[in-house]
């Protein structure tokens, strides 16, 4: 069974939190779960691991993001 779901923390560059949040909202499969002192907690969900990884790649490459950290990656899908 494929359950490509991940939890991640996105850390914006200083003063870029608003921009990052609005970009995240536009991404399909991404839900913002809260904003804490250490970043924005998100959950990513996709049909395949490939899709999930491509969303991660996208976020990681944004200039307004200093750190993107997967903190949970569903295990069943690791080949």
């Amino acid at each position: 069974m494929n359950l490509p779901i991940a939890g991640a923390v996105v850390v914006p560059m200083p003063r870029e939190e608003k921009k990052v949040k609005s970009l995240l909202k536009k991404l399909k499969g991404v839900e913002i779960k809260g904003v804490g002192s250490k970043g924005i907690a998100i959950v990513l969900e996709a049909k395949t691991t490939e899709d999930l990884e491509s969303i991660s790649k996208k976020i990681e490459k944004w200039n307004c993001v200093i750190d993107f950290q997967l903190v949970y990656f569903n295990v069943e899908d690791i080949k």
């Binding site: 991660s56 790649k57 990681e60 993107f68």
Partner: protein, 793 residues
């Protein structure tokens, strides 16, 4: 958990809870269906940070990895590479694990052979050469990724049984200058502080390091601290590239490549001129001209006089950094009543003046007293997971013996020979030469047989092409997990077990040792390197009529090694297997005590009383056990405090107990741009890949994120040369030429191009400089500054 929750909902809830916890929101993490998996504690092997990981096993395979929340290294967090650890084990990108010993045939093909046959051939060839040409005709080239037990066994085989000092390793290419810097300043290698200082620092001075991409979990601690105190905490990044780390900084000192010695002397000049000096701390220091033990001693006034040629205004035109920015950086660094941590990696180490640059950073800490206090340290970051443990501490370089001992020191040789159980005359008395010199001797034919273990020098040596040919001609044994550029030129290939397929100890940046257990079996006939070394040692010892290694298991080797460190500054006597297994994040030396809860010293060079004064306490508790906030070696040896830099190494010289502030003249690197080659070529790593990509190129996500090498060119240079993004560009140095696609980016400084070295099909190290004059005083090559030209291809 509600029974009505679907599997998908449950996993989502788990992912949410964990993400919220790590984002700093108060939720307790829950993990899904973990009862199905068996988790074992290990350590990530992808960088020198040493994040503690929990490895999930199902049906004899690694299927999951998560950070260990109990670890004081990463508090349960991991970076993208860490999460992809399971995939490095199982091949990908067109490559499978090596599973059988292979021997090259006359026609160049490789034939599968039995272990017996391979081991006999290796031992016979090594012994034949030793008998015909002497012990220096054979060599070992190891790695900062060997476990300490492997490195110790190899060191004992080559220096103890064979009697050659031809023992080197790839840490020479990354850490040697840092060792030289610590020895010249403190008389002893490795830092005074710990990762814990990052959580208390008010100023971060990051120079020659792209932490956001190369040490992401440590950079997270920088971010956490800055986010908690945005005004109080200042982040200064000194780097010719505009990296993500530089983008995050409050102040980016973008000096011209090769000119940072001027910048650092200018910061010292401002600190002294504006009397931002900590006069109390200067009681524990003295000033000395240049490196080594022979230079003249100076006083503060003379040091001030020495620095008068380095005012920010004078160095502005050399460095390209505005005088006011240098002044601001110096004032943030030296703020009285605030703490400062410096962090650096290859940008300082892989340089012609690498040792001096390291000393200059230490100078800033010593004159401002930003050391030995909470949130203060001069902390050199390592690049590999066991460069510190297996090489620096264990003595895996030509001039060293275990426990920070020197081969050339008769008493040190006698001590080690006694533990090893060999006559002292069996040990070599003089070092031979550093890594690149060893490959030069291989090229000359002086070295006839070499064993390369867990490293890929055919891709990583400077001017690598030259040495690939030398390896092809010699009898070259390569132990590794995947075929790479070095197995390509091998005579014999030995398939190795990796990471959790074998057990061993690894030691990282902040004097920390962690244990990696064997959790699964290696594939096919692959065997642990420790076993390979032990088997070859048995055969060689027998043929030479000498005693063999004398231990059978990794644990026995570790316990013998602990004896070598007992009573030394790198005291690991207290790092028992039992403690290493039990405590997430391991033990920090000096740790003379075997008391189970005692996890070693978080700070060095300060006494218990001094710790009480500056920390308000003397120990720090972790989820299991505690570390002392003072130096247990000082206590053990009854060295006088409150601050005592041991200062006993011959490189350091007198006076004992004082640190040396080194007055070093600023100079540029060996090979600077000229008319024919007007650009600086800078090389390094990228976030997705590690070193030569042997492992990370097996991971699909990482491969797709960054599939091949490219060249970073500044928009100004691209404009001038008429180069468009993605267009092919030819880079030529006096040693070679390569075509790469252009990435036009403000990461690159005008006049400098940057190329990553992970791509085995685009070997940028065929262009880097290997001239001995370009090496640092510690024999480390220069991968950061060499000249090149850039043209449209």
């Amino acid at each position: 958990m509600s029974m009505k929750l679907s599997r998908r909902e449950f996993i989502k809830a788990s992912a949410t809870a964990i993400a919220m916890t790590y984002a700093g929101l108060a939720v307790k993490p829950v993990f899904a269906k973990e009862s199905e998996l068996k988790f074992g504690r290990s350590q990530c092997r992808f960088c020198g940070t040493g994040c503690t990981v929990l490895v999930g096993i199902k049906d004899g395979k690694v299927v999951a990895v998560k950070g260990d929340a109990d670890s004081p290294v990463n508090f349960g967090r991991l970076c993208m590479k860490g999460y992809k650890l399971p995939e490095i084990l199982y091949g990908g990108g067109g490559k499978k694990r090596l599973t059988k010993p292979l021997i090259r045939q006359e026609d160049g093909s490789f034939k599968e052979v039995s272990w017996e046959e391979a081991l006999d051939l290796i031992a016979d060839t090594f012994v034949d050469n030793i008998k015909k040409f002497g012990p220096d005709s054979v060599a070992w080239y190891g790695s900062g990724q060997n476990t300490t037990e492997e490195a110790y066994a190899a060191n004992k085989l080559f220096k103890g049984i064979i009697g050659t000092a031809n023992v080197e390793g790839n840490p020479r290419l990354c850490m040697a200058s840092a060792v030289g810097g610590y020895l010249n300043t403190f008389g002893t290698d490795e830092p005074a502080g710990s990762y814990d200082d990052l959580d208390l620092a008010d100023c971060f001075f990051i120079i020659g390091a792209n932490m956001a991409e190369q040490h992401p979990m440590l950079f997270r601690r920088v971010i956490d601290r800055k986010s908690a105190y945005p005004d109080r905490v200042k982040v200064i990044v000194a780097d010719p590239r505009y990296t993500p780390t530089a983008r995050y900084a409050d102040l980016h000192l973008q000096f011209k490549s090769g000119t940072d010695m001027y910048l650092l002397n200018a910061m010292a000049q401002v600190i002294i001129d504006e009397d931002l000096v900590d006069h109390e701390h200067l009681k524990y220091c003295t000033f000395k001209k240049e490196l080594g033990s022979s230079g003249e001693l100076m006083n503060l006034e003379e040091f001030k006089e020495f620095l008068k040629d380095y005012t920010p205004e004078k160095v502005e035109s050399i460095t390209g950094v505005k005088a006011e920015d240098i002044r601001l950086a110096a004032s943030w660094f030296a703020r009285k009543g605030y703490s400062t941590v410096s962090l650096w990696t290859m940008g300082l180490n892989q340089r012609t003046k690498g040792v001096q640059l390291n000393c200059q950073v230490h100078n800033l800490h010593l004159i401002t007293g930003k050391i030995g206090k909470p949130g203060c340290d001069s902390l050199s970051l390592t690049g590999q997971p066991n460069a510190c443990g297996g090489t620096r501490e264990q003595g895996g370089l030509t001039h060293l013996l275990p426990g920070h001992r020197l081969l050339a020191n008769e008493e040190h040789r006698r001590q080690i020979a006694e533990i090893w159980g060999y006559p002292v005359e069996q040990l070599p008395t003089k070092p031979t030469g550093p890594a690149v010199n060893m490959f030069m001797r291989l090229e000359k034919g002086d070295i006839k047989a070499i064993w390369i273990n867990t490293t890929n020098p055919a891709q990583s040596l400077p001017n690598a092409d030259r040495y690939r040919e030398a390896m092809r001609k010699a009898f070259t044994v390569v132990s590794d997990i995947y075929p790479d550029r070095t197995t390509e030129v091998a005579t014999a290939i030995l398939p190795s077990a990796m990471w959790v397929e074998k057990e061993g100890v690894m030691g990282q940046t902040d004097r920390r040792s962690q244990f990696i257990p064997k959790l699964i079996d290696p594939p096919g006939e692959a065997k642990p390197d420790f076993w390979q070394i032990k088997e070859v040692a048995k055969r060689i010892a027998k043929k030479l009529g000498r005693k063999d290694l004398g231990f059978e298991t990794e644990e026995e080797a570790w316990n013998e090694y602990r004896r070598c460190t007992k009573g030394t500054d790198v005291d690991l006597w207290g790092a028992t297997r039992e403690k290493l297994k039990a405590h997430a994040g391991g033990v920090q030396w000096p740790c003379p005590s075997t008391d189970f809860d005692n996890r070693g010293s978080n700070k060095r060079f300060i006494s218990k009383e001094y710790a009480k004064k500056v920390f308000g306490k003397t120990t720090k508790k972790y989820s299991t056990g505690y570390v002392t906030l003072y130096d247990q070696h000082l206590e053990d040896k009854k060295l006088e405090g409150p601050v005592n830099y041991y200062g006993t190494n011959p490189l350091h010289g007198e006076p004992k107990g004082k640190a040396l502030i080194r007055a070093v003249n600023a100079e540029v690197d060996f090979e600077m741009p000229d008319k024919e080659y007007p650009y600086v070529l800078n090389t390094g790593r990228v976030i997705e890949h590690w070193h030569t990509g042997t492992m990370t190129m097996r991971v699909r996500l990482l491969r797709e994120l960054n599939p091949e090498a490219y060249v970073e060119i500044s928009p100004q240079d691209a404009d001038r040369l008429g180069i468009k993004n993605g267009q092919n560009v030819r880079i030529t140095s006096p040693r070679g030429s390569i075509v790469l696609s252009a990435w036009i980016t403000d990461r690159a400084q005008p006049g400098m191009v940057f190329v990553p070295w992970f791509d085995e099909n685009k070997l940028i190290n065929d262009l880097t400089v290997d001239d001995p004059k370009s090496w640092s005083k510690a024999g480390e090559p220069n991968y950061k500054v060499c000249k090149c030209k850039v043209e449209r291809a």
